[in-house]
Amino acid sequence: MNMYNLREYTGLEEIAGQLFVIRNIHNVGYNEVVEISEENGNVRIGTTLEVGEGYAIVQVLGGTSGLSLKNCRVRFKGEPLLFGASQDMLGRIFDGLGNPLDGLPKPVPEEMMNVNGMAMNPAARDYPENIIETGISTIDVMNTLVRGQKLPFFSGSGLPHDLIAAQIVRQARVEGEGFCIVFAGMGVKYDTARFFIRNFEESGALDNVVLFLSLADSPSLTRLMTPKFALTAAEFLAFRKNMQVLVILTDMSNYCEALRELSTMRGEIPARKGYPGYLYSDLAGIYERAGKIKDSKGSITQIPMLTMPNDDITHPVPDLTGYITEGQIVVDRELHARGIYPPISVLPSLSRLMKDNIGKGKTRDDHSELASQLFASYAKTRDIRAIASIIGEEELSSLDLVYLKFGENFENKFVNQSYNERRTLQQSLEIGWDVVSELPEEELVRISKDHIKQRYRKKNGDKNTSDENKSA
């Protein structure tokens, strides 16, 4: 830090929302930290949003309430926003700006890291391999999560996405040492935060969790910084300490709202639905911090959660997220209403990294064919249901009725499982075969003859084949 830069100014020209303008200043850099101290000793943090000759526009991270044009001193620190990361972060709870919330002192920093992060060199990236077994059939078999992936949950208000996230955190099995969780809550309700903390406590995971919480009532700018601090902590743990880090970001919709609020306040030209044109780049700056690096053992896997306004998947937030992340898990209101848990709608869900990480030598040789068949058959079931709802089931052909039966079994036996049930991948695959065997052999065009011979459950109660498979 250059002491020369540590100069203080008093007097602001204008305060608007969470921004202020200050004039007659020198030597102030773009995107650097600003400390604003009030007469009562209260210190807020801000960053410069725009700098020009003799002026700067500053965003105040703690909100501007109580600030006046005269009563504060402004100090430009000449460095970007830093976070003191250390191994001791594990088991701690921080606010959105990296200050402890649990009453304990700040951990002694091992390294001061720029919270904005740097772009990972594409040539240094390592392709994500090794699946994370979540114990949930719809994810493990049909939308496999891979270490180093970013796989968001697209949900709606009132749907149990928090419950599913908590179940994943509890059940996730990752090979190798040092599994930990970084949790960033942006604009979450107090109850939600409480729910996660209690869950971590109950499963004994809290010692391996770093929490960053900015609750719903905290200033919107704090919300914007929360994921940056959380991901900085994650990068430290993954790439300095070689840990397998699972980052849960909830709720990204709140983050985007905050970004829109700030952008509007700055008078920027909006693109879609009032969101700024750079929403894509901004989100990419967060999501792209997931991944693996060659020659490094650690990894960052991200599960961002977002609530789709009006369950609209084409809304800019889920839309742009889907363009950046490697797939999505869609939580469905209809399944939820029918009491199916987890209400994951498999058809619009997708895991892009699944294709390279399943199959022979990785999971099981029939995995990809079975998954593909389940998708295709379930999609067909959906079409038949649509027809049945118009012309009535009586008019359907016998084959169509078999499909309806398959659809029901698929939802009740395969998708449906209890909150505490941890299915191994083998178990999930077997349930998949049980369900798909409902259909006649000729309908299974996505599965090779060999696999059908090996695993298809014959109708006449030929138990032997299926038992053999389980032992195999």
Partner: protein
Amino acid sequence: MAEVAGSVIRVNGPVVQIRCNRNLKMLDMVEIGAERLIGEIVRLKENIAYIQVYEDTTSLKAGDPVYSDDLPLSLELGPGLIGNIFDGIQRPLEMIRQQEGDFISRGVHINALNREKRMHFIPLKKQGESVQPGDVIGEVPETSLIKHKILVPSYAPAGNLISIISEGDYTVEEVIAEIEGIDGTIFPLKMYQRWPVRKQRPYKQRIPVSEVLITGQRVIDTLFPVAKGGCVAVPGGFGTGKTVVQHQLAKWSDADVVVFVGCGERGNEMTDVLRNFTRLIDPRTGKLLLERTVFIANTSNMPVAAREASIYTGMTIAEYYRDMGYNVALMADSTSRWAEALRELAGRMEEIPLEEGFPSYLPARLAEFYERSGSVITLNDRTGSITIIASVSPPGGDFSEPVTSHTKRFIRCFWALDRDLAYSRHYPAISWIESYSEYVEELKSWWDKYTDGQWLEYRYTILDLLQQEQRLQQVVKLIGMDVLPNTQKLILETCSLFKNAFLQQSAFDDVDTFCSAQKQFLMFKAILIFHRVSNELVKIGVDISEIRESSVYQEIMRMKTQYPENQIDKLKQFVDSIEENLRGLEKK
């Protein structure tokens, strides 16, 4: 080194305003501040210049010096491009990694082409011969596939070669030949030339397209083919498989050189491409795919201004290889990210926005880009071509948005990706209703050489059936399948077979990932024979379920994986036996 040209007066994200102390030109390159961040002049107003900066501008201050040597931002074109991966302004990412570590830091200045590496130069001209701009004076075996022609730059004078170096290993900086111009000036030639990133490279004339770019993807080659020198857009919402289509084409299309531009997309995707290309073998040449590919990677989290430039970087490199007489395929994934980068920069410069916030010059920029594709006679009288395969990412999958709708005006082939197909894992999810290709008539004679002259007829037959099927499906939705006459039921059955057995193609199946033109045509024929014969059978009262359960039907369903490329003869035998086998049902 560059001289001081002014100082910073305002910093707003990637756009910086400077006050100039001398006359600066549009699109000249500048370096800003102590770290010498690279930028480009994009607007001049009195003595103020607006600069778009290709790196993160954190910590830039008002008053920071700005340097310029009054030259446009340029690329280095020479041997060593192939197999390499560059960022949006052609900085070599692997070298940056070795020098700077796993994360990209700022102010890195590394030459695009390795200055130490020696390359084997074989002269093709002799001392004293006269040369023109664009002439080939020698070649370098860049990889085992690509003979890199060393071209006389178009900015060099025409004249006599007064010296040329003998065959041997040289670095790119060494002077390999000298031209004496008519006015007596001496022009030294090196193995590389510099070329402004946004400037189109000259050629003699455009020629009409006539050859199919074989992609090995059935739905594309058979139904919606693209010509070498054509341009095609691949629009689709997220999750519909744009990137997989791009990757498949980069892998299997029969272009000589592929330039792959990852523009504002995922980092892991670039890793995936790199990883695959370093181990996959090109089925036609038996060599690694890497040996014909140049990568440009500007992932979504890298600076937005460089994303805007990456498309031009890729295009200029593609033109350079075209000028050597190669057929080049330029894959741009995705042009929407490029358009969004334009929008973001326009917003920062406070330009008046039009629809969805895009600047008014969006259509002009798109047109400029797509018009750089084409088949040409080069300055040295070879033919070369650039095929553009550009993916478009419409927000919400809505094809009426500005980028998709403007793109449609400038392309002649359109592969629309459909979300419903993708949801049921029908890949490639190219919609047969919305897609089109205007190259069909031009490519007929090419296809006829490979088939029995019936390709066009077959194509229209199946497209007609698919149209009918769509109408019938609507009827079925209202009143059910049972009321349809058997011949119409058969149309549904044939289309279902065609979709499953033909259109669907697995990119991850070793046999199915590439399908040669011959195999495609045989498979196509099989399904049409099936339809013709079944139609006759149905008319005389054979039940459709009987046909569906027949072994022939099952066999057709699996022919894509059953017959690898080296067993085309067997496939042919099978196709010839379909009619007889089906007629067997008649007797029952």
